[in-house]
């Protein structure tokens, strides 16, 4: 298809290009003339216009998405709140305005001054937030002195409101003004200083989903910066709603059962990893934290010796005490170091090296097999298991159960705990592993530490014969625009491959802990449901011979553990309870676990009767 023949001479067409050129010259001349007109003829007029530009862009904060529990009970919403902004460029008499403001609002002059000079507020003409949540009285005072308060703007904005106060505070988290560091990090040019963002908990993790989109209002202002006319409005888009996996009723009971004690309760559905309740005490009121907190109040909270801001469920690292015996049992049975029937004599202590490792029961338990050793929590039996296994084989099984690593729940700053190995000792302490340390480790003391959520997941894994799920808090997200619900399916982490007989033996023993006469967890016995569990008492200080720890001051008393699952025949819930300085696990930690389990199972959910 050669279309370009020798007769293809374009001269005739090219001769017409002159007309095109004339048109182009005319266009350019017109543009240049127009620029001349604007810049030279009317230059001074526009110069004045630009110097007195009375147009401002005001940002409209979106309401954050709502947070519900698994049944749609509202946990967090938004309420209107009056916030005070200043536009410094509009204030001519800075001192006068600040003096007046300091009198009207509950804020001292120095702090006001500091806020204004803060480097994060350096965008010209950008209203800067000075105070949130003004009282009606403050609003009335400011409004009535409008004329004297140039450059002040009162804006009603949505304020986060947590309906149950401190309930599940660590899990929900709180919101606060974006910090300069966070602003840097966000990397999004649309994120503005002054935006409220999640600062901890779910609010932080899912911030991008629930924050919504900031709207804009273009307004014309008068000489003192007060709004005269709205030129254009772009409404904000509210954030998406979150449905949590927690059950508000179970959470309430757990909060109540833990009471004033410092400690934590984690309840989890072992069949899918959904967190049903997560309590950490002492707690804080996220409502208080979500309003701009004065530095003094913040100081009080963050330096509180009770560490109310710490989420003990995922950040508390405690020695597991006797609850660790689940791991030791698994390892010993699986490596065939012991059979369930092998008798081992407990005389109240075990001589190893040049030291006697004592049993918690003076005088000993007598002849023990695996079942009775778990039921009565015999230490000597497990010293012997530890001696046979050695630390590295023991650690191997702990790792398989997910200890020594974060569970990966959707909350920031989760701790991993420590599962020591001989390698670890050399790396961390610079000295070799001593065999005696294995004995301490095998009753969950010494270097071993775990987080309560790891333990809840551990006993859930045992209940499910090794199937592990990723613990998670979000059941679904609902898109505010389309109304569509995006559900989060459970994530299976794999299976801890042990013989079914091993799991059966351990579960039977755990059931015995609660139901048998000598069981250490008798306080968790329930008339409604069969519970299997394990007590633990984690020493805070190395017990000295002859010193009864109960006589020690509170802060030196042992931590009480109880981990449980129920119903034994058909596990639906796994719970870990830790009461700091609560003494014996069977006494203080078992009753709350029982209450949480009963509350969850009384809801008469149709239980799938599955033969295990």
């Amino acid at each position: 298809m050669d279309i370009y023949t020798s007769s293809d001479n374009p001269r005739e067409i090219q001769n017409r290009l002159g007309y095109l050129m004339v048109g182009i010259v005319v266009i350019f001349a017109a543009l240049l003339l127009r620029a001349w007109y604007l810049q030279i003829t009317k230059g001074s007029y526009y110069k004045e216009q630009s110097e007195n530009n009375r147009v401002r862009v005001v940002y409209i904060q979106p309401p954050r998405g709502l947070i519900f529990d698994r049944h749609g009970e509202l946990l967090a919403n938004n309420v209107p709140s009056f916030n005070l902004y200043l536009v410094l460029e509009d204030i001519s008499d800075k001192k006068g305005v600040l003096d007046l403001l300091a009198r009207f609002i509950q804020m001292d002059r120095g702090e006001l001054e500091r806020k204004i000079n803060s480097p994060k507020n350096n965008v010209p003409y950008m209203p800067m937030k000075v105070k949130e949540g003004l009282s009606l009285k403050e609003v009335a005072l400011i409004e009535s002195h409008r004329l004297d308060l140039a450059g002040t703007i009162l804006v009603p904005e949505p304020q986060r409101n947590y309906l149950c106060g401190p309930l599940a505070a660590h899990l929900l988290g709180y919101v606060g003004e974006i910090s300069p560091a966070q602003l840097q990090e966000s990397g999004n040019e649309e994120t503005l200083p002054g935006t409220s963002v999640g600062q901890s908990g779910i609010e932080k993790t899912y911030d991008t989903h629930i924050r919504g989109e900031v709207g804009q209002k273009i307004i014309e202002v008068d000489a003192v910066g007060h709004e005269m006319k709205v030129l254009r409005v772009q409404e904000p888009a509210s954030g998406n709603d979150l449905y949590l996996t927690i059950d508000l009723n179970v959470q309430k009971v757990a909060e109540e059962a833990l009471g004033k004690d410092a400690g934590t309760i984690v309840a989890i559905n072992p069949r899918n990893g959904e967190i049903l309740a997560m309590v950490s005490h002492p707690a804080f009121d996220p409502n208080q934290l979500s309003q701009s907190l004065s530095p003094a109040d913040w100081e009080v909270l963050s330096s509180d010796p009770g560490h109310p801001l710490t989420n003990r469920a995922i950040q508390g690292q405690y020695p597991p005490g006797s609850t660790f015996k689940l791991v030791v049992s698994s390892a010993a049975l699986e490596t065939k170091e012991v059979t369930p029937e092998e008798p081992i004599l407990c005389t109240g202590g075990m001589l190893f090296g040049r030291r006697v490792y004592k049993d918690w029961k003076r005088g000993g338990h007598g002849v023990m097999d695996l079942h009775t050793a778990i039921v009565q929590s015999c230490d000597v039996y497990f010293y012997e298991m530890g001696r046979r296994l050695g630390i590295d084989r023991l650690a191997d099984y702990a790792f398989r159960y997910g200890l020594g690593q974060p569970t990966g729940i959707e909350l920031a700053s989760e701790k991993s705990g420590v599962i020591p190995t001989s390698q670890w000792k050399i790396r961390a302490k610079g000295e070799p592993w001593f065999p005696g340390e294995t004995l301490s480790a095998s009753i969950g003391q010494g270097f071993v530490t775990v987080t309560p959520i790891q333990m809840a997941n551990l006993i859930g894994t045992v209940a499910m014969s090794g199937i592990r799920y990723q613990p998670h808090l979000i059941k679904a997200i609902r898109d505010r625009v389309t109304g569509r619900l995006f559900e989060f399916p459970p994530v299976q982490l794999g299976k801890v491959e042990l013989a079914e007989g091993t799991y059966n033996a351990i579960r039977q023993a755990l059931s015995g802990v609660v139901s048998e006469p000598h069981g250490t967890g008798a306080a968790a016995r329930s008339p409604f449901v069969t519970i299997g569990g394990k007590t633990g008492t984690a020493q805070v200080v190395e017990a000295k011979p002859g010193v009864e720890t109960k006589s020690l001051p509170k802060e030196l008393q042992d931590h009480a553990w109880f981990i449980a699952f129920a119903p034994v025949e058909d596990p639906q819930i796994a719970v870990a309870v830790l009461v700091e300085h609560g003494g014996h696990g069977g006494e203080t930690a078992a009753p709350p676990a029982k209450r949480v389990i009963e509350e969850y199972l009384k809801n008469d959910r149709p239980s799938i009767h599955q033969q295990l």
């Binding site: 020798s6 543009l31 604007l38």
Partner: protein, 372 residues
């Protein structure tokens, strides 16, 4: 393809002009994003520099493949372009009320930017394929109307008003160059007049409310209670306040204080004019004029009809964008949202403009060649 002839006929000053305009664009983007978006600031101008480098590659590719070869593939390119335009409507990414982009992960492809070049090539081939001693007959006019009509409707559907208008402008210039038989001309005028109310109706209906408001605001700024003339007004203030010598780099209060929206994209000229004043505007318009003149020169020296029409197509595309974009910032054209070639931020605009300029160079360096 880089042979001796290529180098000897290589018009160095043309490349210098292009690079100068590109640099002024990057400079304006740099200053306007400096305070407005301190974090994203680095990202925006470095991205633009990356686009410019890619644009230079595209430029040399477009210049080195013989334009007859390109024309041979034009039907295929056209089909691909139309498919992409349909894809945009089906799976495109929505932004600012229009569905214009196909997200490729690292890059949002905007097929409506590319279809203009393809239409230029297709039409150039069509017109060069005929000898027209007495101008186009009615039937011959119908074919280019169809070539343009399909993408035009798809582009209006997005809606992308700026591209739709340029798709009308390019063939108009070409047809004017070829000439119409008097009967064809008369008939076209008649049909256009009769069809105008209907076409206007369709056209008006596909516009988004904000686009209608902009047109209304342009025709009568007084009927503008909700401030749809905001862009134009702020832009006029920005340019006007620049005066003779401008406010200097970073000195533009309009752009720095964020009164002026889209300072790095559609309104980059306002930023430039505020900072550099009338003197800067004079220099910039001169640079653009040199570019256009060079393009006309390429058309004038082209060896064959294909070359002439391609060059004229690219030139008219550039002229249209310059006139509409700068006219818009100066308040003499409606705010239709077209980029300023070589200066506005954006990969699609940079790449397609550079490809168009590459075609011009292509035509120019092959003016001495005979047959292939």
């Amino acid at each position: 393809m880089i042979d001796r002839r290529f180098i000897s006929s290589f018009d160095a000053w043309f490349v210098v002009v292009v690079l100068l305009i590109l640099s002024l664009g990057v400079l304006s983007i740099y200053t306007v994003t400096y305070t407005v978006a301190p974090k994203a600031h680095g990202a925006i101008y470095t991205k633009q520099v990356i686009w410019i480098f890619l644009g230079l590659i595209v430029f040399f590719i477009a210049a080195s493949i013989d334009y007859h070869e390109i024309a041979r593939f034009s039907t295929f390119l056209y089909a691909a372009g139309v498919v992409l335009l349909i894809l945009v409507l089906l799976v495109g990414r929505t932004g600012m009320g229009a569905r214009r982009w196909i997200s490729l992960g690292f890059f949002d492809l905007q097929p409506s930017e590319w279809i203009k070049l393809i239409v230029i090539i297709v039409l150039a081939r069509y017109f060069s394929n005929r000898s027209h001693p007495r101008g186009l007959s009615l039937l011959e006019l119908l074919v280019p109307v169809l070539w343009v009509g399909v993408p035009l409707i798809l582009v209006l559907k997005q809606p992308d008003l700026g591209t739709a208008l340029v798709l009308l402008f390019i063939p108009t210039v070409m047809i004017a160059l070829v000439g119409l038989r008097s009967r064809t001309a008369g008939f076209s005028v008649l049909v256009s007049l009769m069809a105008f109310p209907f076409i206007w109706e369709i056209f008006w209906n596909v516009l988004k409310p904000y686009q209608r408001n902009r047109l209304i605001a342009f025709i009568n700024p007084a009927v503008d209670p909700t401030g749809h003339g905001y862009h134009a007004l702020q832009s006029k203030i920005a340019i006007g306040s620049g005066g003779l010598f401008g406010k200097g780099l970073f000195g533009g209060t309009q752009s720095q204080l964020k009164f002026l929206p889209e300072g790095h994209t559609d309104f980059v000229f306002s930023v430039f004019a505020e900072e550099w004043g009338f003197v800067g505007v004079l220099v910039l318009l001169t640079l653009y004029f040199l570019l256009i003149w060079w393009g006309i020169d390429a058309a004038n020296k082209a060896k064959d009809h294909l070359g002439v029409f391609m060059a004229v197509g690219v030139v008219s595309m550039l002229v249209f964008y310059l006139a509409v974009n700068i006219g818009m910032t100066l308040g003499v054209a409606p705010v239709v949202g077209v980029p300023l070639p070589l200066m506005s931020y954006g990969g699609n605009s940079i790449l397609t403009t550079m490809a168009g300029l590459g075609l011009l160079l292509n035509i120019k360096i092959r003016r001495f060649m005979l047959f292939y």
